[in-house]
């Protein structure tokens, strides 16, 4: 049996790969003829996703069902029968990842004019502009250069037709604006918005756009865009002046929102899962991945609008839950041990040129390239018959086995997509996988060369590769056993959930909590946000109960890890617990960091906190709401300055408690003073509800913060353009959230960078978006509020994802030591120690050796000591040391100077 994943977008791909990589049979069902979903339309993401697509297409455990749709589903968890475009399959569990669609745009936005585009299309236009002949961004209508560009946010969301917030648009608009500014610094950019709902690094990006790039953010809901002769006129309300103004723009990008996929309602009908009133699959705050039907999981934008990063985390999390209901039946790829043939002195180079389904063949004259490559003196065999990666791999395998080739040059798509796949093919055929040289004929030739030069360029690239291939060396592939145990650091909701996820998958877990009891930051909360009324304590108690009774779980409280050594699959550490006479020595293969965040920032001095009795914090106020509330006028102040960051739950918490106060005491005057209300996603409804129930929202400017003096809160409201005074009985402060103290130590131990004390990464490169819980240190995963303070549902999804990623690793019996690592020639090393200082993973040690003093040819005394670099375990092959080392004493295997020189010598 196996698991059916429905939807071949980024979420479906992620779930399928996590499952297939851990030995589960996966049926990946996609209605379109190609994988990728909406991600394929995002220029940058397409590049990031393509390696994953290639992996899916070539994965032995994935049954790829393209152009297929689910027609029928019957049975129950553990035994579902599916009918997929006429094929019958049986699975134990199902993951729904059907993605999103974008709303139809109202005519009033000038949609229909070629110069008004939706953001997804704008990505393509921007990409085309960069590679166009002029390199300019031009208007689609008349080809004139765009000088004034406008973005309109919340198109098709936070409106009558779609009342919730689409979550992703604020950040992707900022990213698009940034890309435009980077490429066209003179572009005038105007962004119309209602609230800027960004967090963490995106918050920094927006600040940079405003301050450094001169992007104008205008707070106004634009009612219409009027296409006129040669310009687009945007009408908007100038809130500062209270007037309606007009602005002429050359091009307008509509940041459209997200809606449930059009196929979702049918899918829901077939599978029987409940949908919510917005049409998304219904999940809950405390079970974000489970649908109403046991055995059917959901993830990504099928459950709510969200960013790619969150979708991917949910997908991994859903994979873990699905795996829990299924049996592992398939072997894990890459686990076979290979015997490699002896490579003698005779060089037999085989060249394989793949047409890449026309993407190379249409531009490059492959037969001509093959003919000329065949003339090279060191080439024994050329194959140019293949058109897909699969065919090419078969050809390589038989070339090695039947023709005795001992160097392989593969020319095709980018190594980023297929390097692992081609190396595996070599290894299967018995050739050391490092006797392979790759040529990127698609991205670096066919896509970028003028067709008339492409063939010539391809020949040159192949000649360089053939030359380099001569100097390749066999790198021994060493394996070490994976320790099937995990260490989870942090016993809050994320840590406990991750630990349970891993334990339920069958692995022993060491759970380390620094406090005396499990529970973490959520212990500070009373009732959870939203109308559900769940109590934090109930949820925690249930989890604690499961954790403490789980037989695979070792719980250490008042404890922390020390002396961590090792690498992915094989770590060692000590657990030091207060009051415990002996430190526990543990071994583990994977580590999950779930240190959470601290809510104990004391806003001492702000708004009289500490001095005035009636000034409190939101978390205290949450507890007060559980009892009797005898305050008639309450002022909640959001964005109180202080140490830390604005949590993703910050606005939700403020709005929720304002609403609950109002519900409890309908006659009370409840004010919320804010800069931006960030009730993303479905939480937008809470905001709407609060306004309808009479909570009064007053927006202030950062430059003119509210004051609380002599019992009066005064705030300059930027909508009324006037100062407003409130005499509150209670002032409630929403304060920043701080990182866990342990993060500094863990960052040092595991070499994972911190940003503002959290494990978030600033440059959100595609790789990081697509691996949200992985870190630069393989085998170490991050989740929950340790990454960035997040809501419970997000913490649960992320920690399940971290558990899933850890299990993918733990499922393997063996890992290979990194082959492409640095080595030192001790004879040449001058011992300067710069390599030791720059090594990002401390894999280089400077050792001291005695220097004999030889005078007049006689060794007299042992005079001094010289230093020599030694490379040790942990090298990740980044090559920093080798690129510094002036004498070449340090070199990186597979990138030896002679290999690079051979290639260069040919090029020059």
């Amino acid at each position: 049996m196996g698991i059916a994943v429905i939807g071949g977008g980024v979420a479906g791909i992620t779930a399928a790969l996590d499952l297939a990589d851990s030995g589960y049979k996966v049926h990946l069902i996609e209605k379109n003829a190609e994988l990728g979903g909406k991600m394929e339309e995002l220029a940058e993401c397409q590049m990031g996703l393509s390696p994953y697509i290639a992996k899916v297409e070539n994965h032995p455990n994935i049954d790829l069902m393209l152009s297929s749709e689910l027609e029928r589903l019957s049975g129950t968890a553990g035994d579902f029968k599916l009918s997929v475009s006429g094929n019958e399959i049986g699975v134990e569990s199902v993951v729904l990842a059907s993605g999103y669609d974008i709303p139809e745009v109202a005519k009033s936005y000038g949609f229909g004019s070629p110069d008004v585009v939706v953001s997804l299309d704008f990505e393509g236009i921007l990409k085309a502009a960069t590679v166009s002949e002029t390199g300019e961004l031009v208007r689609p209508s008349d080809g004139k250069r765009v000088k004034r560009l406008g973005f309109i946010k919340c198109v098709g969301s936070r409106c009558q037709e779609n009342e919730i917030c689409s979550t992703a648009c604020c950040a992707y608009t900022a990213k698009e604006a940034w890309e435009v500014k980077e490429r066209f610094p003179d572009m005038e950019i105007y962004i119309f918005y209602m609230d800027i709902r960004v967090f963490g690094k995106d918050e920094e990006l927006v600040a940079e756009l405003k301050d450094k790039y001169g992007v104008k953010y205008i707070r106004s809901r634009v009612p219409e865009v009027i296409p006129e002769e040669g310009a687009l006129t945007v009408k908007f309300e100038n809130l500062e002046k209270g007037t309606i103004e007009k602005l002429d723009l050359d091009m307008v990008v509509l940041a459209v929102g997200l809606l449930p996929s059009k196929t979702l309602s049918k899918l829901a009908e077939i599978t029987g899962v409940k949908t919510d009133k917005y049409g998304y699959i219904e999940t809950s705050l405390t079970s974000p991945l489970e649908t109403s039907v046991p055995g059917i999981l959901a993830c990504g934008t099928a459950t709510a609008p969200m960013k790619v990063r969150e979708s991917v985390a949910q997908a991994s999390g859903a994979a873990l839950k699905a795996a829990g209901l299924s049996q592992r039946t398939e072997p894990i790829p890459g686990q076979e041990e290979h015997k490699y043939i002896e490579v003698g002195d005779e060089l037999k180079t085989g060249v394989f040129i793949c047409g890449c389904e026309g993407e190379v063949a249409n531009t490059v004259d492959i037969p001509a390239v093959a003919e000329r490559t065949n003339e090279l003196k060191d080439v024994a065999y050329v194959n140019s018959e293949t058109n897909t990666l699969k065919e090419a791999m078969d050809a390589i395998e038989s070339g090695i086995v039947d023709q005795g080739l001992n160097r392989i040059v593969f020319a095709g798509q980018s190594p980023r997509e297929c390097e692992d796949i081609v190396r595996d093919a070599c290894a299967r055929a018995g050739l050391n996988p490092y006797l392979l040289e790759m040529v990127n004929l698609r991205e670096q030739c066919a896509w970028v060369q003028d067709p008339k030069d492409a063939t010539e360029a391809a020949v040159d690239m192949l000649k360089m590769a053939v030359e380099r291939a001569k100097y390749l060396e066999e790198i021994p592939v060493e394996r070490y056993p994976v320790i099937p145990k995990a260490l989870v650091i942090g016993g809050g909701i994320s840590g406990m959930n991750a630990a349970l996820g891993i334990a339920d998958a069958g692995y022993e877990v060491h759970l380390v909590e620094k406090r005396a009891e499990l529970g973490g930051g959520l212990r500070e909360s009373a009732e959870l946000q939203g109308p559900g009324g769940e109590q934090a304590a109930d949820i925690l108690n249930e989890l604690v109960d499961k954790v403490t009774t789980n037989e695979r779980m070792n719980v250490y409280t008042n404890a922390k890890e020390e002396e961590v050594v090792g690498r992915a699959g094989s770590f060692k550490a000590k657990i030091v617990a207060e009051g415990s006479a002996e430190d526990a020595e543990i071994e583990f293969g994977a580590c999950v960091i779930a240190t959470g965040a601290r809510r104990d920032f004391v806003p001492e001095g702000y708004f009289g906190y500490g001095k005035e009795k009636n000034v409190t914090t939101v978390s205290e106020f949450g507890k007060m709401l559980a009892g009797k509330l005898d305050a008639n006028t309450i002022a909640l102040i959001q964005d109180v300055p202080g140490e830390g960051v604005t949590a993703r739950y910050s606005s939700i918490e403020v709005v929720d408690s304002a609403l609950k106060a109002k519900e409890k005491n309908p006659d009370a005057n409840v004010f919320v003073l804010y800069q931006d209300i960030k009730t993303y996603g479905k939480w937008e409804v809470l905001y709407k509800d609060a306004r309808e129930k009479g909570v009064i929202f007053l927006r202030y400017d950062k430059e003119k913060p509210p004051k609380y003096e002599d019992g009066i809160v005064s705030v300059y409201d930027v909508i009324f353009n006037d100062e407003i005074q409130i005499k509150p009985d209670l002032v409630v402060l929403s304060t920043p959230t701080m990182p866990a103290e342990a993060n500094e130590r863990l960052s040092e131990t595991f070499k994972i960078p911190l940003k503002k004390g959290f494990f978030m990464e600033k440059p959100e490169r595609p790789k990081m978006v697509l691996t949200p819980v992985d870190t630069v240190n393989e085998g170490v995963f991050i989740c929950g509020s340790a990454v960035y303070p997040a809501m419970i549902d997000e913490c649960l999804a992320m920690s399940s994802a971290a558990a899933s990623r850890a299990c993918v690793l733990l499922a393997k019996d063996f890992l290979e030591t990194p082959a492409m690592i640095s080595v030192v020639d001790e004879e040449i090393c001058a011992g300067c120690g710069v390599c030791e200082a720059i090594c990002p993973v401390d894999a280089i040690e400077l050792t001291e050796e005695p220097v004999p003093v030889v005078t007049f040819g006689v060794t007299t005394v042992v005079g001094g000591t010289k230093k020599v670099a030694k490379t040790g375990d942990g090298c990740i092959g980044c090559g920093s040391c080798a690129s510094y080392c002036p004498s070449g004493a340090m070199s990186l295997k597979n990138f030896r100077d002679r290999q690079v020189y051979a290639q260069l010598d040919y090029a020059m």
Partner: protein, 355 residues
């Protein structure tokens, strides 16, 4: 700062004292040899001759740091030398080519220097000290100061462990710059240290202004073609590397088979390209070297002095190095505790400079 004002003649006693009191086991310092001035390494204090005026003499032979490169023994060596030599020694300490505890660095004020053969030929006209008026005068007589010295703005004895500051008249002020320097001076009898605060900011500004003018007047190498032309006569003898105090490799890449192909290797490369210029790697050698020394080059000009083909290498090495050092806000040899720029990588840094 702790220091003492002495008659310049008393320096002889001071150096002897350093040896006598075992503050150092040996001492490298400039001596007069006929008309010339050269470094001597002295272990016997009685062999120390009157060091003034030799230590201030405007003559440059070998960068003294180059001599002690690889001083890996525990015995302590003292070096009396010009600031550029001391700064090179400090870079070598950072590069672990010697141990901080095994060297006592004594810098002396420098008025600029002539190639030491020029100095020997015109010792009388040049004298023991030059100022800008004198330098211009000598130029008229075709006796040119080294270009490296003309553009140098770090000529004052403010680096190392001890500084010897030349005063008007016949006096010098000896200051202890580091604890080790103060300790060494304190060990010597006849010397009693007192607080000496000397303000040389006026002098520094004047030197910097003059140097800046000269630097701006240097011909620029503005393109790869111009660089090829500049290096046209290079015979790849690598003497510039031999004499460079901060080139510290045990075996230079250009002595290894890849950097210096011979026999069959050479033939293979020629076969690949049909024709190659020989000796090979002329441009590559200099580009590689300029990259390797760009953060640590102290601008001493030893490379130019060493070139048998009279290529004015000062216009290449120190000029490029200064630009690189500006980016990293790094002055080689200024502070022994300041880490080498390459070792202080931050993910987010230098963004404004790299734009």
């Amino acid at each position: 700062m702790k220091g003492v004002e002495l008659k310049s003649g008393d320096l002889e006693g001071l150096f002897k004292g350093l040896l006598d009191k075992k503050a150092v086991d040996c001492l490298i310092l400039p001596h007069r040899v006929g008309n010339n001035v050269a470094h001597m390494m002295v272990t016997d204090k009685d062999k120390i001759e009157s060091p003034v005026p030799a230590i201030f003499a405007p003559s440059f032979s070998v960068n003294a740091a180059n001599i002690v490169k690889g001083w890996l023994i525990k015995e302590k060596i003292g070096i009396v030398a010009k600031p550029c030599e001391i700064r090179a020694a400090i870079e070598l300490i950072k590069l672990k080519q010697m141990d901080k505890e095994s060297v006592l660095l004594i810098s002396v004020d420098c008025s600029g220097a002539f190639k030491n053969q020029d100095y020997a030929d015109h010792a009388e006209e040049i004298g023991d000290w030059v100022d800008s008026a004198k330098i211009e005068g000598l130029k008229g007589k075709r006796i040119a100061i080294r270009e490296a010295c003309e553009i140098c703005d770090k000529r004052l004895a403010d680096v190392g462990d001890i500084g010897i500051v030349r005063q008007d008249g016949d006096n010098v002020v000896v200051v202890g710059i580091t604890d080790m320097g103060v300790e060494a001076l304190s060990a010597i009898e006849d010397i009693s240290l007192e607080d000496k605060d000397i303000d040389r900011s006026g002098e520094i500004e004047k030197i910097a202004a003059e140097a800046k003018k000269k630097k701006e007047a240097l011909p620029e190498i503005s393109s790869v073609e111009a660089l090829e032309e500049f290096l046209r006569d290079c015979i790849v003898c690598k003497n510039c590397r031999e004499m460079c105090p901060v080139c510290y490799c045990k075996e230079c890449f250009f002595e290894q088979p890849l950097g210096k192909p011979v026999g069959g290797d050479l033939l293979n490369i020629a076969e690949l390209r049909g024709a190659i210029a020989v000796p090979v790697n002329q441009l590559m050698y200099h580009l590689t070297r300029v990259y390797h020394v760009s953060t640590t080059c102290v601008g001493c000009g030893a490379c130019e002095d060493a070139c048998p083909k009279d290529i004015p290498l000062t216009r290449l090495y120190p000029v490029i190095a200064e630009k690189v050092q500006e980016i990293f806000e790094y002055v080689p040899g200024k502070d022994i505790e300041e880490p080498l720029p390459f070792t202080t990588y931050e993910e987010e840094e230098l963004e404004d400079k790299l734009r």
